[in-house]
Symmetry: C2
Subunit: 347 residues, 2 copies
DNA sequence: GTGAAAGCGCTAACAG
DNA sequence: CTGTTAGCGCTTTCAC
């Protein structure tokens, strides 16, 4: 026998510790909850138990604790927001805040909500088995998925109430902005200012939403001018990526008198590239961004935005999530929320 | 008897549905899991069960499901990051990413982690009973607390592994930046440029960290120049708040040739106020920010930052959290992580 | 001082 | 086609 008493297979339970120390499970439980004083366990026993807990590396099973500890009069409901690590958290935190508010409003004696955010790597939602089974959430909002995630979701039926934000998926309740309309309005704003060589700046890896924005932008420009706008492709979503891509475009002497950046990180980078090239915004190059950036007003100059109306979107999400959980809604619906336009100095 | 069959007291369980429809609990369970095909339940029965589920408003108990469903060979560990709604999510998302990475590295057959973010209203952590009992998490990182929260934590012993980020609390493992040193370095940078009338911009509601930054800044300036710097107080943390406060200060003709903004939202607002007043950065007014802003490089001009070294901080947190859970550490420790300085064009 | 037993709500295996 | 049984891991009486 090896000296080390390592239980190599199953996780350590209270019973295993009990057996190891030759006491009962309840004694162990008492010590773990620091109730040994009131139960007047012998100090020596307490110490032996403590030692075993440490040596065996006990970590409690929270599911079992919850089941046992919960007051059978109160109903505990677990809500989640699933988003990718790579996405900006601004909208997510608004969704969370609002979900929490509605949850609080419905909380009372006998009804109790927890709301949390869980994250997955963009494109790898399918690997998060823990998030996707019925034993974790009563309802979730899923957002910031990539095409791979969407494909996975389309082929699955999740075992709880789901509202999808920003994607159209068959068989799910979806709340959507209208990227087509956003792209179209962005084009109209630039063309309306007299831009002749509009450019669209996109990340290489397009979400469904950003792809549609760019597409609609191009279609509108082509329809009104007869030619496609130039497409500048950034390596990623960050300002650095945007700055590099646009710098290359401007450096190559390819024309640009208006820019539509499909995400605001890119717009921020574009600002730097434009200024570095000695051009003025909006005189030389007008810029339109997307409007989900909390700081758009503080860009220099302030950034004109055409974007989703977040307030309305969040309202829709939360309403639908609760309707689904209460089975007041059974059929999936798609809800489209029209864009809001904020004209500022950049265009 | 009222017509409506509302079970007004305890939450609806599978058994209640079973009784209501006069079938067994397993039949109900089968239908809920959509396994009635393979069990070949009578379609009529399925319909009756479905109807009862809807009518009684059944919502599953996830704790019970998890306990039952989990594979006894694998150990499931639940990690949380507790933060306030009001705080910026940038650092939180980095912490989450890193915790997730370390968790993934330790995941294997027989070991499995979930990481999630839960939020509380700043100052009201004590009300979040659900987050604070032993039946939810195996370990948590707590951050973005206000003094009320700190007082509450100091008076409590949380029943799981806890690492506190950015606060000094007795009896907790704390990982801290060094706000005093940050404030001092900021002052040195401004004075080193020859600033004679430095100003510090703070929010009205100070966190422990921001208060110390401001304090150290003032102390250093006083020590080197003999006079206290002016304090400009913004109503909140947003760029709008910062812009308003500084605009008022500049408008009142009170001098300012160097600015230290204790949060980056405020710095962003300050930029606008300074430019609106026709002053140049850094020629007329040099600006120093705090360095936890992901876009500091894209401010116009890029913002010089003196701030916590996030990478190192996150590393410390995660290491300590795992040490605590494994009981490799028992005594609480305070870990101080020295600041990083990034000189950019604004100072 | 300590142990035995019951049961939280759910589901899977096994009997009919 | 459907019901009975057992038990996930934990804590809390109650009994000795």
């Amino acid at each position: 026998m090896a000296a080390m008493a390592r239980s190599d297979k199953r996780p350590v339970t209270v019973h295993m510790i009990a057996k190891h120390v030759s006491v009962s499970a309840s004694a162990v439980s008492t010590v773990l909850a620091d109730r040994h004083e009131e139960r007047r366990l012998a100090p020596a026993t307490v110490e032996r138990i403590r030692k075993a807990v440490r040596d065996l590396g006990y970590v409690p099973n929270v599911a079992a604790r919850r089941l046992r500890a919960h007051d059978p009069e109160v109903h505990h409901i677990e809500l989640g927001i699933l988003t990718s690590f790579e996405a900006p958290l601004f909208l997510v935190s608004r969704v969370l805040r609002q979900v929490q508010r509605m949850a609080d409003a419905r909380t009372g004696p006998g009804r109790n909500f927890s709301v949390s955010i869980a994250m997955f790597h963009a494109g790898r939602l399918r690997e998060m088995a823990g998030l996707l089974n019925a034993s974790r959430f009563n309802g979730v909002v899923i957002t910031n998925t990539l095409p791979d995630d969407d494909a996975f979701l389309a082929a699955t039926t999740l075992p709880y109430a789901v509202v999808v934000l920003g994607r159209r998926l068959p068989n799910y309740c979806c709340v959507l902005d209208t990227p087509g309309e956003i792209g179209r309005r962005a084009a109209e704003i630039l063309l309306g200012r007299g831009c002749r060589r509009p450019v669209v700046l996109t990340p290489a890896l397009l979400t469904q939403s950003t792809a549609e924005r760019a597409e609609a932008f191009c279609t509108t420009v082509r329809a009104k001018t007869g030619t496609d706008p130039a497409r500048v492709v950034a390596a990623g979503f960050t300002p650095t990526n945007g700055a590099e891509a646009l710098r290359a475009h401007l450096g190559a002497g390819r024309g640009c008198d208006g820019l539509y950046a499909v995400t605001d990180g890119l717009a921020l980078g574009a600002y730097q590239a434009i200024k570095d090239a000695g051009r003025k915004i909006p005189k030389d190059i007008a810029v339109v961004g997307v409007g989900d950036h909390e700081h758009a007003d503080f860009f220099d100059p302030p950034l004109t935005c055409v974007g989703p109306s977040n307030e309305t979107i969040v309202e829709q999400i939360v309403t639908q999530l609760f309707d689904l959980m209460n089975r007041r809604r059974v059929k999936p619906v798609e809800t489209f929320v029209p864009p809001s336009v904020v004209m500022r100095a950049s265009a």
